[in-house]
């Protein structure tokens, strides 16, 4: 495990956004059959998700969350010196989407701006990268954006379509003088399993793939541009490797379940969540869930679950454990204190950016 503790750092705000288009999974009965849909709802726990409209990208949702956060915190974009966008669904091959977001948000030129290509571990990795940058620069505030439009990359003839929702999130990190404001991290990455979750075509290695749908081993149809997942491998990773990292981290940090107020973990599906909770000996009341309402929202699932749970509550300062895991394979855990009044309710929006592009 890679360990890290950063002192003098504080998360001072979290916002999340989803599109307005609500999808009721039971309505997929006409595509996959009622039995299959009912069984999938039961085993995944996903009842509804939210899907973007055609022109709405992952970055648009992250933008809405960022705008909401800056407004609610009354922070000017000119105070931001670090802007990161973490996603697997960027706007262009080049430049990094964070530059588009810099323009839209009005983040000054005196800043550090770049993208990170990660999925479900985005929050934990983004928190660490931005915090590390704050500690080594003259910048005081960092804005980290996460966005995923998984509905765009899941085949319409794949039951995984029932699992994934689109969303965006933003969080603010501030440098403080207090050593008590510290965040501890544990990380692991395994590129040997890079193709356990992947989209083969569309990048430069396979720029032109086939858009035709092919029936795969599991019986569902996908094209080269759709998300492919080795289900058994990913489930095995989630229920075995992930809890192992958390236990190692908690032991190193001398953390016990009773010291932690809430565990906000990635929401892959209900049974994986329950399996991980059981292994970590948490009770379900300590682990808020949004899998039923928003589905698997990839890197946004941690912040959206925080916003869904604490968004309309003021419970003071809480000790939270954050756990992200997924594509890469990448997994990470973080422990921090956060003021629950800095966590805002989920916002709904269909806003998108018109870049004026027309194809030649």
């Amino acid at each position: 495990m890679i360990e890290s503790t950063i002192k003098g750092i504080k998360v001072i705000g979290v916002s999340s956004a989803v599109p307005t288009q609500k999808i009721n999974n039971i309505d997929y009965s006409s595509v996959f059959g009622e039995d299959v849909v009912k069984k999938t709802i039961e085993s995944t726990g996903v009842r509804t998700t939210y899907h973007s409209i055609d022109k709405q990208m992952a970055s648009d949702l992250a933008f809405v969350a960022a705008k909401d956060l800056l407004e609610k915190k009354d922070i000017s974009p000119s105070d931001i010196g670090i802007l990161l966008f973490i996603s697997s669904h960027h706007d262009y091959i080049a430049p990094a989407t964070s530059f588009v977001l810099q323009k839209r948000l009005g983040i000054p030129i005196d800043s550090i701006v770049f993208d990170i290509n990660l999925g479900c571990s985005a929050f934990v990795y983004g928190l660490h990268v931005a915090s590390s940058l704050l500690k080594t620069t003259n910048i005081n505030k960092a804005l980290v954006l996460i966005g995923d439009s998984s509905s765009r990359v899941v085949s319409p003839k794949d039951t995984s379509r029932l699992l994934f929702g689109d969303s965006g999130a933003a969080f603010l990190i501030e440098k403080t003088e207090e050593d008590k404001d510290k965040i501890s991290f544990g990380f692991k990455s395994d590129g040997n399993r890079f193709d356990d979750i992947y989209i083969p075509a569309g990048g430069f290695r396979h720029l032109k793939g086939s858009f035709d749908l092919f029936t795969e081993e599991d019986g569902w149809e996908r094209s080269d541009y759709h998300s492919h997942m080795k289900g058994t491998n990913v489930f095995a990773f989630s229920v075995a490797d992930v809890p192992k990292l958390v236990r190692e981290f908690m032991k190193k940090e001398d953390l016990s379940v009773d010291k932690i107020d809430k565990l906000f973990m990635h929401q892959p599906n209900l049974y994986i969540i329950k399996n991980v909770i059981r292994k970590l000996k948490f009770t379900e009341d300590k682990v808020p869930m949004t899998i039923d309402k928003y589905g698997n929202t990839s890197g946004v699932s941690i912040p959206i679950t925080m916003c869904n749970f604490y968004g309309d509550k003021n419970e003071g300062i809480k000790n939270v454990l954050l756990l992200g895991f997924g594509v890469g394979l990448s997994w990470g855990v973080a422990n921090l204190f956060i003021d629950t009044t800095d966590i805002f309710p989920v916002v709904f929006s269909d806003e998108y950016y018109d870049d004026g592009f027309t194809t030649h």
């Binding site: 069984k39 999938t40 085993s43 995944t44 599991d218 289900g231 058994t232 491998n233 990913v234 489930f235 095995a236 990773f237 229920v239 075995a240 490797d241 599906n269 049974y271 994986i272 329950k274 399996n275 059981r278 292994k279």
Partner: protein, 81 residues
């Protein structure tokens, strides 16, 4: 504590019975649709709770985990280690 083989058979035959005379050593439960990637999580949780063990990722993706005898062998080896 339930007999391991009985436990596995109860789970995989919940919806459809196994074919007559099936060979427990070679019959692939995943390939033949008795366990899919969704039900696998439920199956793993059930076995882990019943026998108070934890499978590693390598064990879950191994060839042994696809057959009744193979799963029984993994559980027995974990109980004795």
């Amino acid at each position: 504590m339930k007999d391991i083989k009985e436990m596995i058979l109860d789970f995989v035959q919940k919806e459809y019975p196994l074919p007559d005379g099936v060979d427990y050593d070679t019959f692939d439960l995943i390939e033949n649709g008795y366990i899919d990637s969704m039900s696998l999580v439920v199956f793993v949780s059930l076995l882990e709770e019943e026998y108070d063990i934890e499978f590693t990722a390598e064990e879950i993706v191994s060839k042994d985990f696809r057959t009744i005898s193979g799963i029984e062998k993994i559980i027995k080896s974990k109980k004795h280690s």
